[in-house]
Symmetry: C2
Subunit: 146 residues, 2 copies
């Protein structure tokens, strides 16, 4: 099921702003803010209102077609969502994002936390931070240069 179908099946229209936002995120390797999305789309000759970007992101997030992630400095951005349980890893240097399957086993941790805090655990937020292949390359080149 592609994103157009997800929209339709949930009673939403496949409108121009939504299409533009999805297209841009599909081609962006790093999380973008609403303003970055708006600017990029204008720059590439499209015409749409800032407001539509906000509304598109809100809806697409709700439908899990895009995800809200946080850079290592805490600043938020939107990336394309993958279906199913997954998480993201972000490059601390260039902010490039990749996703990985949510195959982690948190059951031991959850059990312990429930016992310690008496909270009942329902969900989790997990992101990894690191260095992407390209930035590793750059770093080792700089190393050699010194």
């Amino acid at each position: 099921m592609n994103w157009q179908e997800v929209l339709s099946e949930n009673g939403y229209r496949v409108s121009e702003p939504r299409r533009l936002v999805m297209q841009l995120l599909e081609n962006s390797s790093q999380p973008l803010t609403p303003l970055q999305i708006y600017s990029a789309l204008l720059q590439s000759g499209n015409t749409l209102g800032m407001v539509s970007v906000y509304r598109a992101l809100e809806l697409l997030t709700e439908l899990c077609l895009v995800c809200l992630v946080y850079n290592s400095d805490g600043s938020p951005g939107y990336v394309l969502g993958m279906g199913g349980h997954h998480h993201h890893i972000l490059c601390q240097s260039c902010h490039k994002a990749a996703s990985f399957a949510g195959s982690e086993d948190l059951s031991a941790l959850i059990e312990k936390v429930e016992a310690d805090t008496n909270y009942r655990v329902k969900d989790h937020l997990l992101q990894l931070y690191g260095i992407c292949p390209a930035c590793q390359e750059k770093q080792s080149v700089r190393q050699e240069g010194n």
Copy 2:
């Protein structure tokens, strides 16, 4: 080492706004936004500038005396930081936060992600969401009432 010492040892002064922000967070069970902190402090008869709240939070976060966390709706807030590796669990109903030791073992996951994505993992963001004891209580009472 208390927070006053952390400030001093790092060459920062123990100023009034910093004291007020720390005091408030020490007594707050849920994440607060800069504005909420500012308002609460004014309300309780103190006098300080909004700007100082922002600056205090920035510094205290840098020194790990407070932590930036995200509610389940994605909205950010600040809570008191604990020393050492730890994470937070937030109530999806009342937003009350608790912390727990970072005793999770992510090594298997990290190995897999590094193999799959070629990123080199350096750090992680982990939060749990759930229902706090008080809200569990409220929910079961409502259940019985029906």
